[in-house]
Structures are given as structure tokens and as C-alpha cells.
């Protein structure tokens, strides 16, 4: 029997629709804003129809940077700095590794990497509680 692969379906791409160039120009503007005014911003990539060629062009132009990070909350979120410092590629996945949302963030550091203030406070309390427990244990010990 033939397998699925034997069915001669091959999708021919007809070239990008030019949205990659528009995105790149937008990145340039946002980066200039960051440099001049310190304003951070981002672009929602799922809001635009981007072909495979568009993605290739985006990735090729922005390149790879120094930082790679991963956040584990509600499924993974993968972040990497592009070859242009200050330009971050942020992709949110669900637990099944499907893309939920994808952004290009123009910032000193992506929002999601920063430790949230409330969480830090909660962490401080948790840490103090832990230290208190340790002290109790050593006292008893």
C-alpha cells in the first residue's frame, strides 16, 4: 500500500508577499525609538500574513545574537536575542509545543524575563520563611 508520502502533494510557494520588508522597517523605527527615548515596544507577528520566504528573510536579516532563554510557565516560551542587540524574538508555545503567539520585542530586556515585583516580594517572604525554618531546625538540632 502506498503511504501518505506517495501522494504527490507539493505546495509551491509563490514568493513572499513583501510583509517581511515592512516588518524590518518597523523594527528599525522601534529600535530608533528605544535608542532615542528609551521606549520599549513589540510587533505581533501572528497579526500579519507571513510566508515561509518572509520568515526566512526576517531570520536571515536579523541574525542570531548572544542570548538564548526559555521560560517555563503554561508551556515553554523561547526567547533569543537577534543579531541586532535590543531586538528579541519571543515565541510562546503551549504544552503541546504549538505556537500560541509570536512577537518581535524591541527592548533592553524582554518583559517576560524580568522578575515581576510581586513575585520577588513573594519570593522574599518565601525565602525568609525558609530561613526561619532552617534556623528552627538548627536550633532544635
Amino acid at each position: 500500500m502506498s503511504s501518505l508520502k506517495d501522494i504527490g502533494v507539493h505546495v509551491v510557494h509563490v514568493g513572499g508577499n513583501g510583509n517581511a520588508r515592512a516588518v524590518l522597517r518597523e523594527v528599525e523605527n522601534l529600535l530608533q525609538k528605544l535608542v532615542e527615548k528609551g521606549e520599549e515596544s513589540s510587533i505581533d507577528l501572528s497579526g500579519l500574513p507571513l510566508s515561509a520566504e518572509d520568515y526566512d528573510l526576517l531570520e536571515e536579516t536579523l541574525g542570531e545574537g548572544e542570548v538564548v532563554a526559555e521560560v517555563h510557565s503554561l508551556g515553554p516560551t523561547r526567547i533569543h536575542e537577534t543579531g541586532v542587540p535590543g531586538v528579541w524574538w519571543v515565541t510562546h508555545y503551549n504544552d503541546e509545543d504549538e505556537v500560541l503567539a509570536e512577537f518581535i520585542e524591541v527592548a533592553w530586556c524582554p518583559e517576560i524575563l524580568l522578575a515581576p515585583e510581586d513575585d520577588v516580594k513573594d519570593g522574599l517572604e518565601a525565602l525568609r520563611a525558609r530561613l526561619f525554618e532552617l534556623k528552627q531546625e538548627s536550633n532544635h538540632g
Binding site: H10, D44, P49, S73, D95, E102, P116
Partner: protein, 361 residues
């Protein structure tokens, strides 16, 4: 518990603020809002208290509920449902019989004027609405009662939004849409057969986030999802522009992903988000799998001239009318021809030879 905010619920479930931020970013993206709105979304969703929701199912196939609950990425969508208090849903609720109806009545009384009413399925009007009843109450009556106390109504699926399949000719049950009955409440139509799950969730998220109706088109559909046609966002669109069309479902053009217009694709007249959100967790969508759009999120899609007929072709055959027209035209032509010949013959008969005396008055 009922006074817990969403953020508190999430926290209780071990979801961090980072996770919540991620959820808000995804929701913002889903709602096609600018990324900068994520903070606003996070702020209001975070403080959100669980609103009551009543879900009524009338003449329907449960496909809409299936679509919603079988969503591939339940983690995000289910968050929204965690945020609501789904007090009544035939299919999903544990209670049945009198207990279920009591729950509905209780919820209506408790949250009168505040609850969100979700409806799927059309409402039969013929023969006193006898074609569909729940606990002896006709759909019409139940809808009217529930609608009276609703803050807003969401008509989920093409049946509730436009009448859908039950409404198709000859419409034996006299099925109508929610908007045909309820005129005094805000109604959001979320058509589709079934609607894209992310769209259903997105609409709910919007309502919950902003407490208001999203921007609607003239058919009551949220523009964020129904603002563009399938054709506009179709990845095969460049083939349409180049004039490359699949002629059959298995020809070389079809294999190369050419435009399906000739095979009856209704993409140009259909407004939905399939082309961008796709189905089954972004796996594919009808056109990508090689079949033209059937226009399921549009009114009367079932009677729109055939799924496999190109949009520009006639719905009905005109051959009969054409033949009759030619025949009648020929008959009229022969009649006027005879009349004309008679008039000319008469003119000849009345001809008086013109002499030079006849040249002046």
C-alpha cells in the same frame, strides 16, 4: 470562591505572573489588539471576578460545543472558562432533569441583568415552536425568558447567528436566528459551522476583559475575526492574482496549491479567521487541505448555489428562460415584422405618383 479574581484563581493553580503575562500576550494577539494593550488586558483580566454564564442549546448538533471543548490547546482557552461560572450547559453540566432546570432558574434569578447568555442552535417558530422543547418549554419561550435578564447575548455558530442548517430551504421547522427574535439586547454573532475555537474564546475574552461588545460588522460579527474575507488572507491568493486555478481536485494545479476558485471556493464572499488562526491547533484549514471554502460563516451558506460551483456562475440554470426568451422574442419579432410589412405595403398602396406639380405645397 465566587469573589475570587482570575489572578487569584490562577495563582491557586500554580500559575505565575509570568504565565499570566504570557496568557495576556496570547489573548491580545488573538484579539488582534496592539501588543501594547497586553498590560491593559492583564490589568483588567487580573481583577476580573467570575461572571455568570448561561448556555442554551436549541436546534443544533453540539458541533459548536465540540469545537470549543476539543480545542487542541486547552491550557489557554480553558483559562477563560476557569474565569467564568458556567451555570447551565446541557452537554457539559453534571446535573440533569429538574435539577438542571432549577440551576438555570436559580442562576437567572441570582444574576438577573448581569449574566452573559450564550446560545447555540436556531429557534423553530413553526407550529408553536413544537419542534424543539426542553423540559416542556419551547426554545422560543426559554430564549425570551433567559434573554430578558441577560447583559448580552453571544450567538455561537451559524444556526444561532443566521439560522444555519435548520433554516435551509425548505426550512420545515421555521427556524430563525437569535437576532430574529431578540431585538432589545446586544447580540454578538460568532458564526461558523462550527466557529473557530480561538474565535469563540477570543470573543469571550474580549467581553470579559473590557466588559463591552467588540467592534461588530453589519451582521453582528466581531470585526477582529470576521473583518477580512478568507480570500484576502488566503495563502493561495497569489495564484488567483496570477490566474492559476486548479481545474479538478487531483490535477497538477491542485497539487501545486493553485487557487480553488473554479472548484467553487466561497473564500471571496466569506468572512472568517480560518486562514490566519487555522484549525486543530494551527495544523491546517479547509483550503490548505485542498478543499474550497464552503462559506459556513455566512448566512444561507447551505443554499448559496452549490459548494462546487464557482462564485461567478449562475445559481440556477438559465437555459429554460433563455430558450423561452428567444422563442417569445422570435414570436414578437415575427409579429412586428408582419405589422411592419403591412405598414410598408399600405404605404406603397397609398403612394400617389409625384409629379412636378406635387413638389410644392
Amino acid at each position: 470562591m465566587a469573589d475570587e479574581t482570575l489572578l487569584e484563581i490562577l495563582k491557586r493553580r500554580g500559575i505565575s505572573r509570568r504565565g499570566f503575562l504570557k496568557f495576556c500576550a496570547a489573548t491580545t494577539s488573538l484579539l488582534a489588539l496592539p501588543p501594547s494593550m497586553a498590560v491593559a488586558v492583564a490589568d483588567s483580566l487580573g481583577r476580573l471576578k467570575r461572571p455568570a454564564v448561561i448556555w442554551l442549546s436549541f436546534q443544533e448538533c453540539t458541533g459548536c460545543t465540540e469545537s470549543l471543548t476539543r480545542a487542541h490547546s486547552p491550557s489557554i482557552e480553558s483559562l477563560i472558562f476557569d474565569a467564568i461560572s458556567l451555570d447551565y450547559h446541557h452537554t457539559l453540566q453534571a446535573a440533569s432533569g429538574h435539577a438542571a432546570e432549577e440551576a438555570r432558574e436559580h442562576s437567572m434569578k441570582a444574576d438577573w441583568g448581569k449574566y452573559l447568555l450564550i446560545v447555540d442552535g436556531s429557534i423553530p417558530l413553526k407550529d408553536g415552536g413544537a419542534y424543539s422543547t426542553i423540559a416542556g418549554i419551547s426554545n422560543l419561550q426559554m430564549l425570551q425568558e433567559a434573554a430578558a435578564g441577560a447583559a448580552a447575548i453571544v450567538a455561537i455558530g451559524t444556526c444561532a447567528a443566521f439560522g444555519g442548517l435548520p433554516h435551509a430551504q425548505p426550512n420545515p421547522t421555521g427556524a430563525v436566528a437569535v437576532s430574529d427574535i431578540i431585538k432589545d439586547k446586544p447580540i454578538i454573532n460568532v458564526p461558523g459551522c462550527p466557529p473557530v475555537p480561538a474565535v469563540m474564546v477570543g470573543v469571550l475574552a474580549h467581553y470579559l476583559t473590557f466588559g463591552s461588545l467588540p467592534d461588530l460588522d453589519d451582521l453582528g460579527r466581531p470585526r477582529a475575526f470576521y473583518g477580512e474575507s478568507i480570500h484576502d488572507r488566503c495563502y493561495r491568493r497569489p495564484f488567483y492574482d496570477q490566474g492559476k486555478f486548479a481545474k479538478t481536485f487531483d490535477d497538477a494545479g491542485a497539487r501545486d496549491g493553485w487557487c480553488l476558485f473554479e472548484l467553487g471556493c466561497k473564500g471571496p464572499t466569506t468572512h472568517n479567521a480560518c486562514a490566519t488562526t487555522k484549525w486543530n491547533g494551527g495544523t491546517s484549514w479547509p483550503v490548505q487541505s485542498g478543499h474550497g471554502c464552503i462559506g459556513c460563516s455566512e448566512p444561507d451558506f447551505w443554499d448559496a448555489g452549490g459548494f462546487y460551483k464557482a462564485l461567478s456562475t449562475p445559481v440556477d440554470s438559465v437555459t429554460g428562460a433563455a430558450a423561452a426568451a428567444v422563442a417569445v422574442g422570435a414570436a414578437a419579432g415575427v409579429a412586428i415584422g408582419i405589422a411592419n410589412r403591412q405598414r410598408k405595403a399600405q404605404a406603397r398602396a397609398e403612394h400617389q405618383t409625384v409629379t412636378i406639380e406635387d413638389l410644392e405645397k
